[in-house]
């Protein structure tokens, strides 16, 4: 912790209190501590100061103060991210957007909504579903996560197989640049002229500025939704069924898979009453116009049975559908019932490599003496292995982390990705050089320099090594994220 940095922060705090008023600026250590982590609690840093923004002007004011004094800032929505993307900076400003939660314009005629960044994902669907619309990206945390966070992380969810990710649903944003300027990009009309800045911004994890308003697509509710649960003896059988469904030309709204350990955990937690003796279950959802869904549904049932499913349950109504999904959506938390601690991994493989990789993951866990539960989006090969451990046992964390890291190696070996939807954040920045070359990362960082030449927007995230931006040689760019968490206060 350098004296200069803390002196600069003190100056910024003074300016923020003057400009925003003391009630918007949290300096009290106990209150700041509330914000020390996001959904990835393994990383904790108490922010230097917290600003509770009421609107885009507050955000711009805060960012301008940071820019004047080269002080880092981090944006935070609901704080549900799983990669430490909203991990605060101990010498920086945490800009909290959760109080900006108005749906400015729910324009169903144009199939668009203009929302504040703090609007909760499900809140938008709740507001528009009476008119027959919804917001398609549906991360498991959708009842609490913010749309601003979805934009930052390019969130997906179970249904993105058919409907795409957040990036496919954003047509405009208001951005506060790292210089504190307010810029309007895109709008309700598609294809704004010029470079596709939205494509770069969505999923940039807060490193290119702060989005203070998002214009998003509203999707028409389908005429019909049908959900089934198919139980299989083995993961191989369930994987074969998935391949057969895709090969038949069906794109379900979702295909989710759980293995025996994940099923056991879900049963213990929410009593979802999945078929006994299942080594794997598939949750398949089809939606669309009724005549099409009826035909595809028969195909899917037939393909599941042909692949060895010994029980197929069909949701008769919304309640039964909710029960089928309850087991799947509660799976992460449910693992807490069968293990004191666990790591949620997020990696992607080409879907066809699924059976092989699952066997390799099992072998990896066995050789390390670590249990791994698997819950994942089978349709697009997005794995969420849950690596179980007991933190009170010496060496257990290290073994679990080794297995979690090994799983990412497997993903990369098969041509996949180190993250499908949780983001890189603070957690996986160190893994980026395993997926990208130095030139790849340099080029991405060149784009970052275009937006953030001072390197003050969420530094230490996404990229393992900061890059100097041309004209300002020798400027301090912040430490490596791990070093950073090392010097920070850890509880």
């Amino acid at each position: 912790m350098s004296g200069n940095a803390s002196a600069a922060l003190d100056v910024v705090i003074g300016e923020l209190v003057d400009e925003l008023g003391p009630e918007r600026v949290i300096t009290d250590r106990q209150r700041r501590r509330t914000y020390e982590c996001d959904g990835l609690a393994a990383y904790r840093v108490i922010p230097g100061v917290v600003v509770l923004a009421r609107g885009s002007d507050d955000v711009a004011t805060a960012v301008r103060a940071c820019a004047r004094h080269s002080v880092p800032f981090v944006a935070r929505g609901s704080g549900t991210g799983l990669s430490g993307g909203a991990l605060p900076h101990s010498e920086g400003v945490l800009v909290v957007l959760s109080q900006m939660r108005s749906i400015r314009d729910a324009d169903v005629d144009d199939q668009r909504a203009v929302v504040d960044p703090g609007v909760i994902n499900l809140q938008l669907t709740a507001a528009t579903s009476p008119d027959g619309y919804y917001f398609a990206p549906d991360p498991s945390s959708q009842s609490v996560c913010s749309i601003g966070g979805n934009v930052a992380e390019n969130s997906g969810g179970a249904h993105c197989l058919k409907y795409g990710f957040t990036t496919n649903h954003v047509t405009g944003v208001d951005l506060v640049t790292p210089a504190g300027e307010q810029v309007e990009i895109g709008g309700k009309a598609p294809d704004p002229p010029g470079y596709d800045l939205l494509g770069a911004l969505v999923g940039s994890e807060g490193t290119l500025g702060i989005v203070t308003s998002a214009t998003v697509r509203l999707t028409r509710l389908p005429q019909e939704v049908r959900t089934l649960l198919a139980a299989f003896r083995s993961m191989d059988d369930a994987g074969a069924a998935t391949s057969a469904i895709i090969a038949a030309g069906v794109i379900p709204a979702a295909i989710e898979m759980m293995d025996a350990l994940a099923i056991e955990a879900a049963e213990a937690a929410v009593h979802c009453n999945y078929p006994a003796g299942a080594g794997a279950v598939l949750v398949v959802e089809l939606d669309g116009p009724s005549p099409d869904v009826a035909g595809e549904f028969d195909d899917v049932v037939r393909l599941c049975e042909a692949a060895g499913s010994f029980e197929v349950r069909v949701a008769a109504d919304d309640d039964e559908r909710a029960l089928i999904w309850k087991g799947r959506k509660s799976a992460f938390a449910a693992v807490g019932r069968i293990s004191p601690d666990y790591i949620v991994q997020d990696g992607v493989i080409p879907r066809t490599a699924l059976p092989l990789v699952l066997r390799q993951i099992a072998a990896l866990g066995e050789s390390a003496g670590v249990r791994v539960a698997n819950v994942f989006h089978a349709g697009d090969g997005n794995l969420h292995p849950l690596v179980l451990f007991d933190g009170s046992v010496e060496g257990a964390v290290d073994r679990a982390e080794e297995v979690a890291g090994g799983i990412l190696d497997l993903c990369l070996e098969h041509g996949g990705s180190i993250t499908g939807e949780h983001g890189v954040g603070a957690d996986k920045a160190k893994h980026m050089p395993r997926m990208f070359t130095a030139d790849d990362l340099e080029t991405m960082q060149a784009v970052r320099c275009a937006f953030d030449p001072e390197g003050i927007a969420n530094p230490g995230k996404v990229f393992p090594t900061p890059r100097l931006c041309g004209e300002q040689p020798g400027r301090h760019r912040g430490a490596h994220p791990l070093a950073e968490s090392g010097v920070a206060e850890v509880f």
Binding site: D109, D110, Q111, E153, C160, L161, F165, L175, V183, E184, I185, G186, G187, A189, P190, D191, P192, P193, G194, Y195, D196, L198, G199, A200, V202, P222, I246, A247, G249, I251, P289, P291, D292, G295, V348, I349, P350, T352, D380, G381, N382, G415, G416, S417, T419, E421, H422, G423, V424, M432, F436, D439, E442, T443, M444, V447, C449, F451, V462, G470
Partner: protein, 424 residues
């Protein structure tokens, strides 16, 4: 002046050739001095490194089906012909993914993946497809067609790209899996950038299973009625794959055609339901104008002799205003304005008339949206005389950030300077 020998030397190891430019080697009327045709990504890197070191201006060229889109470059020393990079790198049929080099014609890619009953849903205009439009060209022009309504534009289908920057740096982003949030999505930034940030050498795309059956529901009516009915179909639960509107120049009526895709009898049922909404009929074949740019066949595709081609966007409800503005502009300025495209709000206009009248008509079309966030008109192809009369791009949100991106990736303005928004 280009030192061809050194360019040739640079290419020697990677393979490819450098030739003196011929009379046809122009970019929207701007003549080039030389043409380099590398056969690999390494070759592209070698050529660009040397060309930029010589201070040359390079413009990438695929099949040249849209080389006259965007403003003419300030100057062209070297044309980088990408058609030597024509390999289909990988078709992961089970994963619904294809990886291709930039110079591969989209038609060839489509033929390969069709064997597995799959398709890249880009829906290029048939005239571009037939002329050999390449993967890199489709990307760089930000192509989209009728089925963008449900499946998005090419920017929504691209999963990753490898680009060579002006200094020869080769950089990849994204990957070849459908789901991936590691690092910046530079493939989208390169899509529609007209080669001003780098030369795309390879890209990966998401494929869709080809639906076995299709039907069209069509209707004709007054402009406002057609716009309203098209919107009703878009807002229905019938999941149309495309809703297209065609309004020929000088016409008070327009045609709407809706594509229904699926399997078996379900298609017929839905098409009948759409026809009822439209007050129209069901037919097996697409209307002859389907996916084509307005005026296709009229234009020579060179320097805008066939009129001025523009891209017009609107909100769903704003499409009606755009159609009305086209008719209005014709009556006010004595021009022809053919308008065709998706009811999702991405259309193309072909404006014919004097340069002054064309400029006035483009301005009038821009006025159809109350704010640029609700709709824009950008000129894709126009003669020098027309360009001199108008602002081809209109207002561009975030232009300063775009300039900054350009400065970072191509600081010497060695790639197609002047071709893009704000003179980038």
């Amino acid at each position: 002046m280009a030192d061809l020998q050194r360019l040739e030397d640079a290419l020697k190891q990677a393979g490819g050739q450098v030739t003196v430019a011929g009379p046809a080697d122009t970019v929207d009327g701007v003549p080039a001095a030389a043409v380099a045709r590398p056969t690999s990504a390494d070759g592209v890197a070698a050529v660009l490194r040397e060309a930029t070191a010589q201070g040359l201006v390079t413009v990438a060229r695929g099949a040249a089906t849209a080389l006259d889109w965007g403003a003419p470059p300030e100057r062209v020393d070297l044309i980088l012909d990408t058609t030597g990079l024509h390999r289909l790198v990988e078709h992961g049929a089970g994963d619904l993914v294809v990886v291709a080099e930039a110079g591969l014609p989209v038609a060839e890619l489509s033929e390969t993946v069709r064997a597995a009953a799959q398709e890249l849903v880009v829906d290029l205009p048939p005239e571009r497809l037939a002329a050999g439009s390449t993967v890199g060209g489709a990307l760089s022009t930000g192509a989209s067609g009728p089925r963008r309504l449900q499946r998005g534009a090419l920017r929504d289908l691209v999963l990753g790209a490898t680009v060579v920057l002006a200094d020869g740096t080769t950089a990849s982003s994204g990957g070849k899996v459908v789901k991936n949030v590691a690092g910046y999505d530079l493939a989208k930034l390169l899509t529609g950038a007209y080669g001003t940030l780098g030369v795309v050498v390879r890209a990966a795309f998401r494929l869709h299973p080809a639906r076995p059956d299709r039907a069209y529901a069509v209707a004709t009516g007054r402009l406002a009625d057609v716009a309203a009915r098209a919107r009703d179909v878009v807002a229905s639960q019938l999941a149309p794959a495309a809703v297209e509107i065609d309004r020929p120049a000088g016409s008070d009526v327009a045609e709407v055609a809706v594509l229904i895709e699926g399997t078996g009898s379900a298609v017929g049922q839905r098409a009948a339901a759409v026809a009822e909404l439209l007050g129209g009929r069901v037919q097996a074949e697409a209307p002859r104008w389907w996916a084509a740019l307005p005026g296709a066949g009229v234009s020579t595709g060179s320097t805008g002799g066939g009129g001025t081609c523009a891209k017009a966007t609107a909100t769903l409800t704003g499409v009606a205003g755009l159609l009305a503005a086209a008719r209005d502009a014709e009556q006010r300025y004595g021009v022809g304005v053919a308008l065709r495209g998706s009811a999702a709000g991405v259309l193309h206009a072909l404006v014919t008339g004097t340069p002054e009248a064309t400029a006035a008509a483009v301005g009038h079309l821009r006025g159809a949206a109350t704010h640029p966030r609700d709709g824009t008109v950008t000129v894709l192809r126009a003669s020098r005389e027309v360009r001199a009369e108008l602002d081809a791009w209109g207002p561009v949100g975030g232009l300063d950030l775009m300039r900054a991106v350009k400065r970072q990736l191509d600081p010497g303005r060695n790639l197609a300077p002047g071709r893009f928004v704000g003179g980038i």
